[in-house]
């Protein structure tokens, strides 16, 4: 028998093997949320790695497993990568135990990204709830670093209580930026809270941004999104003017493991960023 192996189309790369990154900083955002700043151990990867706002990655704690988080830093600030983790399960619990200097695995970037080309020249309205600010934050820093390309920028951010506000350092910087309209609200204030009190959709209707030439980018818990959509509709926003990033259970991030499907779509490859025009035409409501 001659060799039965035909011209082998198979690549050498092991898709599932992560790159090593080192935690260079841990920020305690809230009692259950931390932000990790990481850097590739391999110096050449620090130079060659690139991603776009909205993309995600798979992060490994070796021995505990892998979990999916968006990259919450901006590609315009390539010094290191950031991601934020709410402690809810096995891998997130393990991540919360880690410190500066510890190594974690990183696979990515995966998925599509926010449509920067379609946002240029538009008034941008960012609406985030809780940890949902993480993916928006990548885009916010991205547009602020190219400020002249965009119209007015407004950010509406809400959390359950003042202590549940994530990225307080960003909120403060943005509120001092004269070219940003920053509104922070909490469901319930405390003695020291001087900002707004009220649910995101209510505050949105109160500030009443114009839908003309505007795009809204929203991310937060499903219930916030549901009511915020109604409020945006009242304000005259149409589905193609509203974008979000969806969360689904993922394992591979590569369109193979069969977990993140919404109908024929794979959120890991076809998403996670979708317009509400696309979402309302989904053939399935399972997300």
């Amino acid at each position: 028998m001659n060799s039965i192996q035909t011209n082998d189309p198979a690549p050498e790369k092991n898709l599932y093997q992560p790159c090593l990154t080192e935690i260079i900083k841990v920020i305690h955002e809230t009692p259950d949320t931390k932000t990790f700043h990481i850097q590739f151990v391999d110096p050449s990867l620090r130079q060659t790695f690139s991603f776009l706002s909205g993309q995600f990655a798979e992060y490994s704690v070796f021995g505990e497993g892998e979990a999916t988080f968006c990259i919450s830093s901006s590609p315009t600030r390539p010094d290191h990568l950031e991601f934020s983790v709410k402690r809810v399960g096995r891998v997130t619990q393990a991540l919360h135990q880690l410190n500066q200097g510890d190594l974690i695995g990183f696979r990515g970037p995966y998925g599509n990204h926010f449509p920067l080309d379609r946002l240029k020249g538009k008034n941008l309205l960012f609406i985030g709830g809780g940890i949902g600010l993480a993916p928006l934050r990548s885009l916010i820093h991205n547009v602020l670093d190219n400020r002249a390309d965009y119209g007015e920028i407004a950010i509406l951010y809400g959390a359950r209580s003042p202590q549940d506000l994530c990225f307080k350092y960003d909120l403060e910087t943005w509120s001092r930026n004269p070219l940003v309209k920053m509104i922070t609200t909490v469901d319930a204030g405390d003695g020291d809270w001087k900002g707004k009190v009220g649910l995101v959709p209510m505050v949105l209707e109160e500030i009443g941004p114009s839908a003309d030439g505007a795009v809204a980018i929203i991310c937060g818990p499903p219930i916030m999104i549901r009511y915020t959509l109604k409020s945006l509709e009242k304000l005259g926003f149409s589905p193609p003017q509203i974008w979000t990033t969806l969360e689904m259970k993922m394992k591979c991030g590569l369109g193979k493991c069969g977990r993140c499907n919404i109908g024929p779509l794979y959120v890991c490859k076809d998403g996670p960023v979708f317009s509400f025009e696309e979402i309302r035409n989904f053939s399935s409501d399972e997300f």
Partner: protein
């Protein structure tokens, strides 16, 4: 170019035995009462073999596969990839349904992010098919467009004839496999055409029309009552996905021992309630949604993505469902 050959039963055994010097050779064998593909040791090719209980997908997409490992000697973490296997392999006795399933799965693992493990398992294997003389229990291969007596999804497809086997040599790889051996003699295309036999236990009339049931599955996706009714007796055991030659959903998980660990890929099932469970939300928490997902993925979504239906009608899920949930009946209900 396709050619045809003939070989006696004795020579087939000699040929397969000879291949063992260069390749791992697998053929049907019974173990613990179940048919499976095992190392060929010169035995007669069993005539009572219909098909393996487990589909051969596990020889390509292993049920448990180590992807990489890590070690931390002296606290410094090192990650080492596991290489894809590259030894040559020959599998004799595969059925037309299962070979089609392997073809159907190929683009899943080739597109966008090529998966070295599946693709290498595929490219390193000589696929030798065997025509079915008997219709398997629960099967509906004919309805799914599979010809159990003929197939070009193999490198070489064999049909048993009184004097041995007649072979349709389909691929270059197949020709390379028989080259230089005196075991095969030339045969004509006419001989091939004349050796087709009627499958014992085959149906005179198909159970359903594929286009019609496919349209039904698509159309009735929103019909909650239908899916609740057809999935009512499902016990979420997942055996249908385990036995399915095209089901390919997997999980990634870690095994950590002292100072080292391994990440595995292992089969998973959309029948399991925690398959899509997230921190605060599970889009397919209800059983009927999971059952609908399985049927729709095969007959609707997979087709939209890969222009193939991810079912070959092998009948394993029908024959071995512990509660007799019969996919054929479900399809008929979707498109009465």
């Amino acid at each position: 170019m396709e050619t045809y050959r003939k070989i006696s039963k004795e020579n087939l055994k000699k040929w397969l035995t000879g291949l063992k010097t260069q390749a791992e050779v697998l053929a049907p064998a019974k173990e613990n009462g179940l048919w499976m593909f095992r190392d060929f040791d010169g035995q007669d090719i069993p005539r009572s073999f219909q098909n393996s209980r487990l589909p051969p997908k596990g020889l390509f997409l292993e049920s448990l596969k180590a992807l990489f490992e890590w070690k931390s000697p002296g606290g410094s973490l090192q990650v080492h990839p596991h290489a894809a296997l590259d030894g040559q392999r020959v599998i004799f006795g595969l059925r037309a349904c299962d070979a089609r399933a392997l073809k159907i799965l190929e683009p899943v693992f080739a597109r966008d992010y090529p998966d070295v493990f599946y693709l290498r398992n595929f490219s390193r294997t000589l696929l030798l098919g065997l025509a079915c003389p008997v219709q398997c229990e629960g099967s509906f291969c004919g309805e799914m467009g599979i010809d159990a007596q003929d197939s070009t999804d193999f490198d070489i497809f064999f049909r048993e004839i009184p004097e041995g086997y007649i072979a349709r040599v389909v691929t270059e790889k197949g020709h390379a496999g028989i080259e230089g051996r005196g075991f095969f003699e030339e045969a004509a295309a006419d001989e091939w055409n004349l050796t087709r036999v009627k499958i014992r236990g085959g149906r005179e009339k198909p159970l359903f029309n594929l286009e019609r049931v496919t349209a039904g599955v698509v159309e009735r996706f929103p019909d909650e009552n239908l899916w609740k009714r057809v999935s009512a007796k499902c016990i979420n055991c997942g055996i249908c996905t385990y036995l399915c030659p095209t089901c390919h959903c997997f999980d990634l998980s870690d095994l950590q021992t002292r100072g080292q660990g391994v990440r595995f890929r292992c089969w998973d099932s959309c029948a399991f309630a925690d398959f899509t469970k997230m921190a605060v939300h599970n889009p397919r928490e209800e059983k009927w949604r999971r059952y609908r997902q399985r049927v729709s993925h095969k007959f609707n979504f997979f087709y939209q993505n890969f222009q193939a239906i991810a079912c070959v009608g092998c009948g394993r899920c029908v024959a071995h469902c512990p509660v007799n949930l019969d996919l054929r009946q479900v399809l008929l209900e979707a498109a009465p």
